[in-house]
């Protein structure tokens, strides 16, 4: 709450500065409609915020000023100098009160006098007005506002710093600098990384921050209005530029207030209309191409377009003849005209319809759009589309009719190939339905949806199960699947966007432009019914069922094996060059995006020119896992047979009839974290035979991935090693205590010959033995 209050004070202070100029200009020319609107918006915003923050004095003042200004806007009153002075007095008082809130000082009462001065019959102001307290001391500021230009410059500076750091790193590698310099460089790298993260964070914020104030607002308003409202908030983890969040804050507050005040009916009215007594307000955010879409949907009475039209004609926004010809959508658009509202009564909550023109003005200022949909008696949905500053999104490339398209990964639930056992496509009437486990999904042929020639009837196609937020899940049937990649999305031109099925365009590495599909738009185009709020309620998703559908990323590992990892921990898949990989500070690390992250892999990676890595992220720890190629995204169907001991592999499961090892993300992250903490203090493992290529090429990465530094005999004294691994042929070294010695044998069955030895391809056994010795060393 303190945060919100501080923000209100900062905002009011800032707007006051801007509004001061408007006020002076308005005083010079009281007929200036634009100035009037600007001042009106200011007092309206203050009123809205105070109502929410429970600041009755400010609310009373702003409500009074708003009322007088609304009269002027609607032509019921002429703006004369008396009124201007009265409004000026109130605006000044708002400023004083805001400062007082900050410094905790009291401002003497005198509000009634100021409010009385507003009334049309007010006598000439007398100088007897109580002298406002000299503006109190400004409180100590715990936050400051900085211009985004400055942030951008900081960001640019840090990017240059990262580039310079990378170059320095390359040169240090080449020159073979001494460890002291490397240590200092390592520290520098960490500082640069931290700084970059911090600066990035200053610009990007989770939209949660924006949504955080909504529950309280809804609770307070519904209490005040005697309504019962259930709030559903979705998509809080969508990240948005801070600037955008600030711009959206007020419009969102206005929309929520409007929905509660004018949209959702009282319980009695709702029951009379055959609806459940509790109203429903849904707020959802999602990313669609290079836009963030925020939907605010209520199930209230919707907009009364006839009343709206009547008001618009009365206010001369449209002529009666033209009004006749307006479509339903065009009539709804009238809501955005200044000074129009369908509210039957003017209330302190949402007021006089000013909200909607403020909403639109604010959103359009940042290049966004506001869409409105309303069904009388069933509710209305406002859709704010705002651009995303960072326009790189992970996407899947698919093919249809010989052309490639991209689908945003965020909306893909899973991918299945037709003809596999898990899915059957059947024709019902003229539509196609896919049966996927216990789900039945409408199938949309991408070619049909885009009006392209149909594909070869006999060809095996793939189904991409997409779930556009706020829409129905459906299966998009495509002729071919290509790869996952990160695409830089740019907005398409309006003529292409008007097709309604695209979210943007991109130029991938192929050099051929590609369009990014908008799954929600395709659903509309193909007539896949959107799920409304009431339907969602009718089909409650059982959490148990949801748990069973775990998507796994199936990939071919560097040792040729197919392995799988939970898709949820895979942030993205990226191609990196071997040059980005180095064995530094005790483990394999990947330099990427100007940072260094731990790398795990089943091979000596440095020699490869290019390889793919899975970037895994648990929200705090980031690591890369080197792979050969991505095979598919599949659903985890059966149980996972647990591995006998903890390690990189959690167990095995059946995917498409084959046994596939499943990685243990917990182990991976724990391993990466251990590295971050231990730094250079990793236990040392001495490999006994330097000339054995198997030890060098095969065993070494495994030992390293178990958390050891590796040295070869001769590089380090056997006594200084935490563990020594000796092959079968190596001469026994009696200086090493047996607890630290790990002997390998070449034959799987030769255990009886030496009970303490481990078969050299007994991966789990090796890992266990290494971990046991490492644990022993640490304890």
């Amino acid at each position: 709450m303190d945060d919100i209050l501080a923000e209100f004070i900062a905002e009011t202070r800032e707007t006051l500065e801007a509004v001061a100029g408007e006020l002076v200009a308005w005083e010079a020319d009281p007929g200036d409609r634009e100035r009037l609107d600007a001042i009106f918006r200011f007092v309206h915003t203050v009123k809205g915020s105070c109502g929410f923050l429970e600041l009755p004095r400010l609310e009373r003042l702003s409500h009074a000023a708003e009322g007088a200004l609304a009269d002027v806007r609607e032509g019921r009153r002429i703006a004369d100098s008396t009124l201007v002075s009265a409004v000026l007095g109130i605006v000044d008082r708002i400023g004083e009160l805001a400062e007082a809130l900050d410094s905790g000082e009291a401002v003497p009462d005198g509000d009634d006098y100021l409010i009385a001065a507003l009334s049309a019959e007010a006598p000439k102001p007398e100088p007897a007005a109580p002298e406002p307290a000299s503006a109190g001391q400004r409180g100590t500021l715990r936050s400051i506002r900085i211009s985004l230009d400055l942030l951008d410059r900081l960001m640019g500076g840090v990017s240059d710093l990262v580039l310079a750091r990378n170059e320095l790193s390359r040169r240090l590698q080449d020159a073979g600098a001494d460890p002291a310099i490397e240590g200092a460089f390592e520290r520098l790298s960490i500082c640069v990384g931290d700084m970059r993260d911090a600066i990035t964070r200053t610009r990007m914020q989770r939209i949660e921050k924006l949504f955080a104030s909504v529950p309280r607002l809804v609770r307070d308003l519904s209490g005040e209005l005697g309504k019962s409202v259930e709030l559903v908030v979705e998509g809080g983890d969508v990240e948005l530029d801070r600037e955008m969040i600030e711009v959206i804050r007020d419009p969102l507050t206005h929309i929520v207030r409007n929905a509660l005040d004018h949209g959702i009916e009282t319980p009695d009215q709702r029951v009379a209309a055959g609806k459940p007594p509790q109203g429903r307000l849904r707020i959802g955010a999602r990313q669609s191409g290079n836009q963030i879409i925020i939907d605010i949907a209520d199930d209230g009475r919707g907009i009364d377009t006839d009343r709206l039209l009547a008001k618009a004609i009365a206010a001369r926004v449209v002529t009666a003849e033209r009004a006749e010809k307006l479509s339903h959508e065009a009539r709804l658009q009238l809501v955005f005209e200044p000074g129009l509202s369908t509210a039957r009564s003017v209330t302190a909550i949402s007021g006089r319809g000013v909200g909607m023109d403020v909403v639109r003005a604010n959103i359009e200022k940042i290049g966004g759009l506001v869409d409105i949909a309303s069904v009388p008696g069933q509710g209305m949905t406002l859709c704010l589309r705002v651009p995303l500053t960072l326009s790189i999104i992970p996407a899947l490339t698919v093919g249809a009719a010989g052309q490639n398209f991209a689908i945003p990964r965020s909306s893909i639930q899973e991918i299945v190939r037709e003809g596999g056992g898990s899915v059957a496509v059947e024709r019902i009437g003229s539509t196609m339905i896919a049966r996927l486990r216990d789900q039945r999904l409408p199938v949309v042929m991408l070619e049909d949806a885009l009006g392209l020639p149909a594909g070869d009837a006999g060809a095996r196609r793939s189904l991409v199960v997409v779930n556009p937020a706020g829409g129905a899940t459906y299966a998009l049937s495509v002729a071919s699947l290509y790869d996952h990649q990160e695409l830089v999305i740019r907005p398409s031109c309006p003529a292409v966007m008007a097709a309604g099925v695209y979210a943007g365009m991109t130029l991938p590495d192929t050099g051929r432009p590609m369009l990014l599909l908008d799954p929600a738009g395709i659903a509309d185009q193909a007539g896949v019914a959107a799920i409304t709020a009431s339907e969602v309620e009718a089909v409650p998703a059982s959490p148990a069922e949801a748990r069973e559908r775990v998507s796994m990323l199936l990939f071919r590992d560097l040792d040729g094996e197919e392995r799988a990892v939970r898709l949820g921990v895979v942030e993205r898949i990226e191609d990196v060059s071997g040059e980005q990989i180095r064995f530094v500070a005790g483990r394999l690390r990947l330099a990427i995006d100007g940072r260094i992250i731990p790398l795990v892999g089943f091979d000596k990676l440095i020699d490869r020119e290019m390889l793919s890595v899975l970037r895994l992220n648990d929200g705090a720890v980031e690591l890369a896992y080197a792979i050969d190629e991505v095979v598919d995204i599949v659903a985890l169907e059966g149980d996972v047979a647990r591995a006998p001991s903890a390690g990189i592999v959690a167990g095995a499961t059946l995917i498409g009839g084959r046994q596939v090892e499943v990685l243990d993300p917990h182990w991976l992250f724990a391993d990466a974290t251990a590295t971050a903490v231990d730094g250079g203090d990793r236990p040392l493992c001495l490999l006994a035979d330097r000339d054995d290529p198997w030890m060098r090429e095969v065993l070494r990465p495994l030992v390293e991935s178990a958390g050891y530094r590796v040295a070869f005999a001769g590089d380090a004294e056997p006594t200084s090693a935490d563990v020594v691994i000796a092959g079968e042929g190596a001469a026994p070294d009696h200086t090493v205590p047996p607890a630290r010695l790990l002997k390998l044998r070449n034959a799987i069955a030769a255990r009886e010959a030496d009970g303490a030895s481990v078969y050299r391809y007994d991966r789990a056994g090796l890992m266990t033995a290494l971990q046991a010795r490492r644990a022993g060393g640490e304890g």
Binding site: Q403, G451, V496, M505, L507
Partner: protein, 145 residues
């Protein structure tokens, strides 16, 4: 009175001009990726160095026979409202300075032409139609709005 530079090109058998200040470049485009469901005069997308431009079939935008078949397209690249467009034309003649102010179009043109032509110019003893690229890009849809 200053001479204004115009790009003169041929379109549907006629010589027409556009103001050269909005022209970024004239390029030859081979590979056009179609944009399904886009209006008919939008020929698709093409790569121009690291950028993607929207290809506009200027003949289709004028209501003439659209360009068909594969081949090299002579393309006038213009920027409008932050988007880059490539106008496919028949042939580019020249950039020339034409003295005098454009005169209003007095002749009755076909529907497509009258939408796109903003004025007339006198050049080398012949009349040239001055086209408005924005109208070409908007295509036939402009009328409906």
């Amino acid at each position: 009175m200053s001479d204004t530079l115009y790009l003169v090109f041929e379109l549907g058998g006629q010589r027409v001009a556009i103001a050269s200040e909005i022209v970024d470049s004239v390029v030859h485009v081979v590979d056009i990726v179609p944009a399904p469901l886009a209006p008919p005069h939008i020929a698709g997308l093409a790569a121009l160095r690291s950028r993607v431009i929207t290809m506009v079939d200027a003949r289709a935008a004028l209501g003439l026979e659209p360009v068909t078949g594969a081949g090299v397209r002579v393309t006038v690249v213009v920027t409008l409202d932050g988007h880059q467009y490539g106008l496919i034309v028949d042939r580019v003649d020249d950039v020339c300075a034409i003295p005098g102010d454009p005169a209003p179009v007095r002749a009755r043109l076909g529907a497509g032409w009258s939408r796109a032509a903003s004025a007339m110019l006198e050049h080398d003893g012949a009349s040239l139609l001055l086209l408005d690229p924005a109208a070409l890009i908007a295509g036939a849809r402009a009328e409906a709005a």
